[in-house]
Symmetry: none
Subunit: 404 residues, 2 copies
């Protein structure tokens, strides 16, 4: 079932939808037979909501696939992550709130250190402070060739997003980053016809960057840049185009703001960085949008650093805030994750993600628990993450009848 098909069924409504994404929500027990992070957490509010919901386990990109944040989010947002692929360069630029245009070519950049022979001795230039990088990035912004603009946008420490904007650029380019020490930076080469101009100008930019960095502070070890992951944005139909939804995103971290912007969400300002600050932003803008995506980062951060107890606490923190959402009387609430990040694995994983869809017209499963095993018994079963959004839209009375 394609998005075009859903688009044809979309009807206007005055309903409000909230999607709470706890990043990396799915987990694993510390020991076989034990409880996962979510099952361990005391979650009276999520459990109560679960009892009035349909439950299932979502598969973000495909069975056995451990997705990154980009595909994980596209999946739960209702898009097939295998069809709409966001490359790392584009994600990096989106992540720093750069207004990436459809024809821009983006890459990830590092400041690095090369020795006198031009060989990379530190791919991260000793993780220089962000303030130093910001100054160096300012230098590079002066570069301009032919009819092409270059953007150098700081991420943090040694990392920046690199963007080329101008006519006739292609994104089929190899990395200049050799991906290991002891090798010199590589020339950017074309992978397909049509990217010759982009390759030529990327190489000229790198040469010029080396000169500028050397001139700026010849004794400083930050004397070169590396570019990798050239790509451009996929064309993604927006929530407004598809469903007539005025959608807002509440996320502190740049990458999630970027992915949300890609599907046409308005990214709201958050006054602070805690989950409570995010819930406050939701309350403030409640009247202005139909759909709210609220992203919680802490669950994934804890999962990826192996902090089982920290992930449990992060989930309990969200549970304690949940009544602030239900107090707004939303028509539909989705609680899920973009992927699993079990603390015992210290990484994103392929495990399906506990998911609930609440609405007054759901045929509730009558399972008063929100956890991996509980969701596995839910009537949604194990389902592609992209199927959640149509179910949520139906519950929000935003999909009309198909056929007679």
């Amino acid at each position: 079932m394609g998005l075009e098909f859903l688009q044809g069924l979309a009807v206007p409504a005055r309903t409000k939808m909230v999607m709470i994404i706890m990043d990396g929500l799915g987990g694993l027990p510390l020991k076989p037979g034990g409880k996962t992070e979510l099952e361990t957490a005391r979650t009276p509010n999520l459990d109560a909501l679960a009892s009035q919901s349909v439950l299932g386990l979502t598969v973000p990109a495909g069975p056995g696939i451990s997705p990154g944040s980009g595909p994980g989010h596209l999946g739960i947002f209702g898009y097939d992550p295998l069809r709409y692929e966001i490359g790392r360069g584009a994600l990096e630029a989106l992540g720093v709130d750069f207004d990436l245009h459809p024809d821009d070519v983006a890459a990830r950049g590092n400041f690095c250190t090369v020795d006198a022979t031009g060989v990379v001795v530190d791919r991260r230039a000793g993780r220089i402070p962000t303030e130093v990088s910001r100054e160096l990035a300012g230098l590079l912004r002066a570069i301009r060739f032919e009819d092409v603009q270059f953007f150098v946008e700081m991420v943090k420490e040694h990392r920046f997003a690199f963007v080329m904007r101008g006519p006739g650029l292609g994104e089929a380019l190899t990395d200049s980053d050799p991906h290991q020490k002891g090798l010199p930076p590589l020339p950017v080469r074309t992978l397909e016809p049509g990217s010759e101009k982009a390759a030529r100008l990327a190489n000229r930019f790198i040469d010029q960057a080396r000169e500028l960095l050397a001139r700026h502070s010849p004794r400083v070890a930050t004397n070169m840049i590396l570019l990798r992951g050239f790509d451009r944005l996929p064309r993604v139909p927006t929530y407004q185009e598809l469903f007539g939804l005025r959608a807002a995103a509440i996320a502190v971290n740049g990458m999630y703001r970027g992915v949300a912007r890609l599907v046409g969400m308005t990214v709201l300002d958050v006054d602070g960085i805690t989950p409570a600050d995010e819930f406050a932003a939701l309350e403030r803008s409640w009247g202005d949008f139909d759909f709210f995506y609220l992203h919680i980062k802490k669950t994934d951060t804890a999962g990826e650093s192996g902090d089982f107890a920290g992930k449990v606490r992060a989930i309990e923190e969200v549970d304690a805030l949940l009544p602030r959402v239900t107090a707004l009387n939303p028509d539909v609430v989705i609680v899920s994750g973009d992927h699993s990040s079990p603390a015992v694995l210290r990484s994103h994983s392929w495990h399906p993600v506990p998911t609930l869809v609440y609405g007054k017209d759901v045929r509730a499963d009558g399972i008063a628990q929100f956890g991996e095993r509980a969701c596995g018994r839910g009537s949604l079963g194990m389902l592609p993450a992209k199927d959640v959004m149509p179910i949520a839209l139906a519950n929000a009375q935003r999909l009309g009848k198909y056929g007679a």
Copy 2:
């Protein structure tokens, strides 16, 4: 898994299959936490059959999609309803048992009322009685232009099915129906090359119809017709072609007889209109076919009119008749619906449909209850409706091994 693939595996057998479709079977509780219509109904025979069956919840057209009867039936019949789309005009003609040919162009028609300036003042001509419409339709049947025949088949009250048959007709046509009062009927226009002749003759037909209606009874307010939803039949491979099945349909209402005919079923005469009459037709023709589709309308009628108790009674009526099916010793029995029609929603809905597949070789779930929640625990899980038919065919020993 496509139908062509299944066709390649089909093998002959002498088994008998029965598919009982309770229209709009799936429901919702009256109050959160309560029981659905099916869960409320006393269904000892269905429960006993369930205990020897595999259970699941079928998704007729796609997650979140509320299907009409056409796509709902195509789904449970084993076809992808998004691939085989039946337009409204074709459905209307099928619905009145009109023998629609593959190249016929069909539309929905209304008798209507226009004022002296030609503006539509009543799109339904005061919902004139069917007998009056039938007489007027008789007038219009006299119309014939060039090498094209026109059919005007009564549905009921002001509604009729309109069919054009002849060489060189296309169906890419706009409606003459302005879809609101206060506007004149619109000329039929072509949407694609190839439909010019059809547009021209449809407009000539409409002009002629106006003259005939005026001449017939100048003071009667039924003085015009409106046509909408021009289309033709999709090409659907039949049960005979796909599976070598001699299939029969037992349905009282025209639309279901029409959809059954589309997939190549022989529509049986029913002596009466009650479910008991339908079960009698099944018994009478038991020796003549391999596959029987038996359609019960009452469940949907009650659901769509918000009559929870009436839907419960309709289900109990079918349950009481079920022993007449099991007495025939069928090899496979499917009990399902074409979609859900919860009484609380008074409409078709997106909720998945309780479904059982009985056969002597099923790996029974051991759940002695036929209801939404019970089926949600079944081993079939939540599955596309079109996947039920292959499972049923396998249980009827009508699918051979794939590969060596």
